[in-house]
Symmetry: C2
Subunit: 230 residues, 2 copies
DNA sequence: ACCTGAACACCGTTCAAGT
DNA sequence: ACCTGAACACCGTTCAAGT
């Protein structure tokens, strides 16, 4: 993610798709979705806005490539564990993604926005192949894989949104949760008994542990249906 | 959703928050996220852009209110069935939301973007109270409720993103799925065996049935853990 | 082949001025 | 109290012109 130094060797292009993507990731990490603009990017790279369009098609392409760089790296690390049991491997993939989105919250939003593209395919492949190794086939395999995928993407998007909201309103996690908890406590007691009841748990909960528990719930459901089919 | 007729009674404000929200929903339904602008909205309402700011705080407020109008109506309909078994009620809520997002795809994106706000609280309350009725308490209740919530929001966001992508590229569902399937079929056979294998199923699958199967998977997982706890 | 940078057609939001 | 509409500070994207 080092700053691109222009035309380091004579005749070589001063800009490359990779350096543009790396700079984009830096901007997104620093300022969230609104931190990446072609103006900020061209200033950082020391070029004009038009030059960037020679290497990327448009902003969607750029966001997709930035997201894919993070996801590809994350999946490569999580997949290194070939000797793991399938259930363990699925948890490892989930946690790897969780931590990656914790470090790069904009990735969660991008995964929710760009469906069926490479980043999602990488996750699908990682999850799906492990579900297949569990012994599922045909429709059960499809359903198990897509349930896990959608759950993971759902948590990713919500985490990203929570982070973005807190950042926009200049709140740290603690204060953000306290504010939401306070709001929920003031909901109408007849209409929102459940939400009022859990408002207190909001402050103490551990996103990462809860995320893992959700994966286990789905894995248990898969095992139960598998046992029922015999 | 009828066009606001200005100053129908003398002295009455010609604009109202409700009429602004209704017009916003129309624009979002017709043109997706990019269909809602203050310029399009003010033209449709026959006012200036500044007038709208007297009734809504900003665009986020407007999007949130539009989303909440749809979700509130959906939850009110799904909650009408008080005699249902809890598991049935959870499925009914899920399907109600699925169909609402099918009719208003932008709602899925908005749910992913605005965390812990009223639309999400309504869903949380509907789901959580039914999970509580299943007999869960304490941490198990929290985990079960949030797993179902995240799964539902994850599917909602992905469906919305798929629809938005297809609309932007002027594709009908069939052609969109065919295009994605074709892309997946051309992935490297060694790196993406799973994804290549399910590319064919992509065209035949039923989003709605798959969504329901995912809910059942989580409900089965909850039941299995409940049985284990005795 | 690659880059420049001004220009275009948009945005959300503000605000003095009106009624 | 409510509305007008021009103005402001941005966007992403294009494109003639340069090297």
């Amino acid at each position: 993610m080092t700053k691109n130094t222009r035309r380091t060797q004579r005749g070589e292009p001063s800009l490359s798709r990779d350096s543009i993507i790396a700079a984009s990731i830096d901007l997104l990490d620093a300022g969230g979705d609104s931190g990446l603009t072609f103006r900020a990017l061209s200033e950082r790279l020391g070029t004009g806005a038009g030059a960037i369009y020679w290497h990327v098609a448009n902003k969607d392409d750029l966001l997709d490539a930035a997201c894919d760089a993070i996801v590809a790296q994350t999946m490569a690390m999580a997949a290194g564990s070939a000797t793991m049991a399938s259930q363990e491997a699925i948890r490892a993939i989930g946690l790897g993604l969780f931590d990656a989105i914790d470090a790069h919250p904009w990735v969660g939003g991008q995964l929710a926005r760009a469906p069926a593209r490479m980043p999602m395919v990488r996750i699908l492949e990682g999850i799906g192949s492990r579900v297949a190794a569990l012994g599922l086939q045909g429709n059960a395999l499809w359903l198990g894989g897509s349930a896990l995928l959608h759950y993971i993407l759902g948590v990713a998007a919500q985490n990203a949104a929570n982070r973005a909201y807190a950042q926009t309103h200049a709140l740290v996690r603690e204060d953000y949760l306290a504010a939401v908890g306070a709001e929920w406590s003031q909901l109408d007691a007849d209409a929102y008994p459940f939400t009022r009841g859990i408002a207190a748990q909001l402050r103490e909960h551990d996103d990462r542990a809860d995320f893992l528990a959700g994966i286990d719930l789905i894995l248990d459901g898969i095992a139960a249906q598998q046992a029922r089919r015999g």
